[in-house]
Amino acid sequence: MNFAISDLMPVLPEVFALTMACVILIADLLIRQNGRMITYLLVQLTLLGCALIIVGTHESGVVHAFNNMIVDDLMSDVLKLLTCLALSMMLVYSRQYLAARSLFTGEFMVLVLFAMLGMMVMISASHFLTLYLGLELLSLSLYTIVALQRDSSAAIEASVKYFVLGALASCLLLYGMSMLYGATGSLELNAVTQAIQTGTADKNLLVFGLVFVVAGLAFKLGVVPFHMWVPDVYQGAPTAITMLIGSAPKLAAFAFAARILVQGLQPLLEHWSAMLIILAVASMALGNISAIAQTNLKRMFAYSTITHMGFMLLGLLSGTVEGYGASMFYIVVYALMSLGAFGMIMLLSRADGFEADTLDDFKGLSRRSPWLAFMMLLLMFSMAGVPPTVGFYAKFSVLKAVVETGHIWLAVVAVLFSLIGAFYYLRIVKLMYFDAPESHAPITYEQDTALLMSANAIGVVLLGLLPGTLMSVCAVAVQQSLMLQ
């Protein structure tokens, strides 16, 4: 294996993150619990450093490293930056919440950094092995983080479920990858594509492997019928951790899906796009309908996540550059909205262990705190996809791609389920604005959390008024990264 020092440049952010994770792991041993803020600040600094390195080492064009196992392109840079941002926001949102539940520990923060490392590897992998490595690093960190709250049986149950099903999904994925390797003789994505295009590969074997890969992907994305773990994990985990699972990893999951399906298996488009149609429609149907029946907000958002992932798949399955760009835009917007929504739950939860995670907790919020209620209103309308919020543009760009490829019926199905979805988002607005509050306990929060909340929700509107930049960033990133060959 040849190794060149220039290979290190594309992976500098990963190297930095790993180093810092180790440094923090050791440094944290010397810090007492009441000095945990130092660890927290160190982690935030690491995230900032990563972001700066990503920007600093950015090069136009596509750079391969480590014998084509790693790729550094515009898409990976954009997604990694957004991952850092999402994690940083997650930490700000959850600091107070975690401290009140004695989860504000060094382990948590180190695990977050390892999860981030996993995501970064996933995002810039161009080889089945690196993809799998990144995925496992992320997943194993998350399994542990979910179980961090040792005295909560719900969290432990969630963690076990997550682990067992996640391991099963990993097996499926690996099995599928081995099939593809058998058919094409390579694990490297570009080589796989070429092998399929030249027609030397056994078609049956390829499709057989593809089925397993798609199933594994569907598990990780949490789309129907591989969604069972999503509601339980979302509800069982402490909200801060639900937020962690529901935001940044979705960005990585998108990259993962895009790398495998688009970069690696583009010639099999007709096969996987047909599979994704089934997954997408089933997700939108089941997710939206089940969400209506939920009274627990976290569980409801879990079903709404399933729906959103289904919607995101619509862009991928359209098989065009516009479609991939739309999917990426969708996933970025989704991460932003879900950060806000879970942030609000944590903002309303109290230090005495009270969790504001049922629908009733939002009753009359507009009287208890008009500003927070308004922020939540913006977020909910955005999730429902009502203009002029950015959620609308996300849905719009995906629908546009779907219509462009002639799947009009799919677009109609998607909007019909969006309508059903609008109901349960509206119900939250209704509870906040039309109902009388059940509790009159004052809402206490730190200034930085509230500020971030406002920025998050107003950002949803501002991005809605001027969506052009982010849209074209996603479009260009996808075009440069996925469409080269």
Partner: protein, 547 residues
């Protein structure tokens, strides 16, 4: 001095600016009301140049502003008005200050949020009428739902939550298929959202079929047409007065405006193929709405059902595809905004005093409140179209258009007119002379200065349009003629040869300027006659070709 093409953008920015100012000022109900009123009045004043500077001889979009907004998708911020929308814009800017005024005392909780909602709603509705970009149109079309949803849900009556959710979901159910149709149009029409470009394209019949029905659903729910009207009585009854006024006067027009702006020009063949369906639904709406109004005991519900009937006339006028019908329909949109808005305002006023909307609770007013009764009588008469009032001119034109197209449809619609007279007069009779079940201690006082001031502009308009509709009709004429010519390109082609320009015969203008109550019949005939000989359709067609 501001450039005149910026007027429309100013109209969009001013209410939003008002909303922001109300939002950041400290909580002070009195000043919140004053500032909101000042801004709505300011918007009205700013919109007045549209009336004076509008060039009635052109069907082209005027006061156009066009700025790229999302270049990646070829989406522009493009606004402008033509003869179809200019009056609706003016109606909106006129009605909104009244909504603020009528909420002066009625809304005493969360005044700040309320005023913000009203101002945002004004901007969104104006945006719908002005948008020249299909995407922009859709944004405004959806955005206007949010404030209305909140107004009904927070400040509404007993079943407000149910009504608000029903309103929102119904409208959204209509608009989402429209979104798909918009996207389909975008790709078929050459990757553009520009409404004028799309209107000039020609599309295959299957495509038109789907697009027509997708748009139809959205607009029919908004109008609302039978059988999509069931959200309307709920929303009206539960909404606070200003919400009802806004809903009836302006928001319902979004649907009929949509028919004129999109369905007819973009899908002309499908519109004509399915015109009979729409006409039948309109007739059912007229008869059914009027029948339902007849049996209501709740004043607000009565007016709400009367809206269903009146809007039936508008859709009827649109889908007979002739100049009289469409001019009548547009005028009827304005008229309905004026009279029904006034009726809702008056119902709100009596409700503030009796805290009941039952006719029996409000009834038997006799001469204790002379001003109220007089005004109520005038607006009721105007609502059923007494000659000399505004609705007469509009309904008459619609009837002329309908009779030209189908005698049977005209006859049925005429039956609806009779029913309208019946329920309005009966309501008036019960209100003024009927038995009262009001509690002894409820004292009904007559209208105060603020309330009279609220209604005065509407009163003036009732008679202005009633006796002198000319200024209103002439502003829409060129656009309507253009629209009609677009609808019947084949007929047009038979007549023209070598006509490059057209001037409306002097006769028509003269007759219009003399039109007074008794002359209306003659006026209508003249319009019919002149339009049938007029080559205006043709020339517009011609002009387009030369362009």
């Amino acid at each position: 001095m501001m450039h005149e093409s910026n007027i429309l953008s100013l109209l969009l920015i001013l209410p939003l600016l008002g909303a922001v100012i109300v939002g950041i000022m400290p909580r002070n109900d009195v000043w919140t009301r004053r500032i909101a009123l000042a801004f709505t009045l300011l918007v009205f004043v700013a919109s007045l140049p549209l009336w004076y500077l509008f060039d009635a001889s052109s069907h082209e979009m005027q006061f156009v502003t066009r700025v790229p907004w999302i270049p990646a998708f070829n989406i522009n911020y493009a606004v402008g008005v033509d003869g179809i929308s200019v009056l609706l814009v003016l109606l909106t800017t006129l009605i909104t200050p009244m909504c603020v005024l009528c909420s002066w005392k009625a809304i005493d909780t969360r005044v700040k949020e309320y005023m913000i909602a009203i101002l945002v709603m004004e901007a969104a509705i104006l945006g719908v009428f002005m948008a020249l970009d299909l995407f922009l149109f859709f944004i405004f079309w959806e955005a206007e739902l949010i404030p209305m949803f909140i107004i009904i849900g927070v400040w509404g009556g007993q079943r407000r939550v149910y009504a608000a959710l029903k309103f929102f979901l119904y409208t959204m159910a209509g608009s989402l298929p429209m979104l798909v149709a918009i996207l389909a149009l975008y790709f078929t029409g050459g990757e553009t959202f520009d409404i004028q470009t799309l209107s000039q394209g020609t599309y295959g019949s299957t495509f038109q079929f789907w697009v027509f029905w997708a748009f139809f659903l959205a607009f029919a729910i908004k109008v609302p047409m039978f059988p999509f009207h069931t959200w309307l009585p709920d929303a009206h009854v539960e909404a606070p007065t200003a919400g009802s006024v806004m809903l009836a006067s302006v928001m319902l027009k979004l649907g009929t405006y949509g028919f004129l702006r999109f369905s007819l020009p973009i899908t002309p063949d499908a519109s004509q193929a399915f015109a009979s369906v729409v006409v039948i639904l309109s007739l059912i709406a007229i008869i059914w709405g009027s029948y339902m109004a007849l049996v209501q005991t709740d004043l607000k519900k009565l007016v709400a059902y009367s809206s269903v009937g009146h809007m039936g006339f508008v859709t009827l006028g649109i889908f007979v595809f002739n100049t009289e019908g469409i001019e009548g329909a547009i005028l009827q949109m304005i008229n309905h905004g004026i009279t029904t808005g006034a009726l809702f305002l008056m119902v709100g006023m009596i409700y503030e005093r009796t805290h009941s909307r039952l006719i029996s609770d409000c009834g038997g007013l006799r001469m204790t409140v002379p001003i109220y009764v007089t005004l109520m009588a005038i607006f009721s008469f105007a609502s059923f179209g007494l000659p000399g009032t505004n609705a007469f001119v509009g309904e008459f034109l619609v009837m002329v258009g309908t009779f030209k197209s189908s005698i049977l449809a005209g006859a049925i619609a005429l039956g609806g007119v009779v029913l309208t007279v019946a329920y309005m007069l009966w309501m008036l009779q019960r209100l003024v002379w009927g038995e009262s079940t009001r509690k002894e201690d409820v004292v009904v006082t007559d209208m105060n200065g603020r309330e009279i001031a609220t209604l005065l502009p509407l009163l003036v308009l009732v008679f202005w349009i009633g006796f002198h509709p000319q200024p209103f009709l002439e502003r829409m004429r060129a656009s309507v003629a253009h629209l009609v010519s677009e609808m019947s390109p084949v007929q047009g082609a038979q007549h023209i040869e070598g006509l490059n320009d057209v001037t409306l015969p002097r006769k028509l203008d003269r007759v219009h300027s003399h039109a007074a109550g008794a002359d209306i019949v003659a006026t209508g005939r003249t319009i019919v006659d002149s339009c049938s000989v007029l080559p205006c359709q043709i020339s517009n067609k011609d002009r387009k070709q030369t362009l």
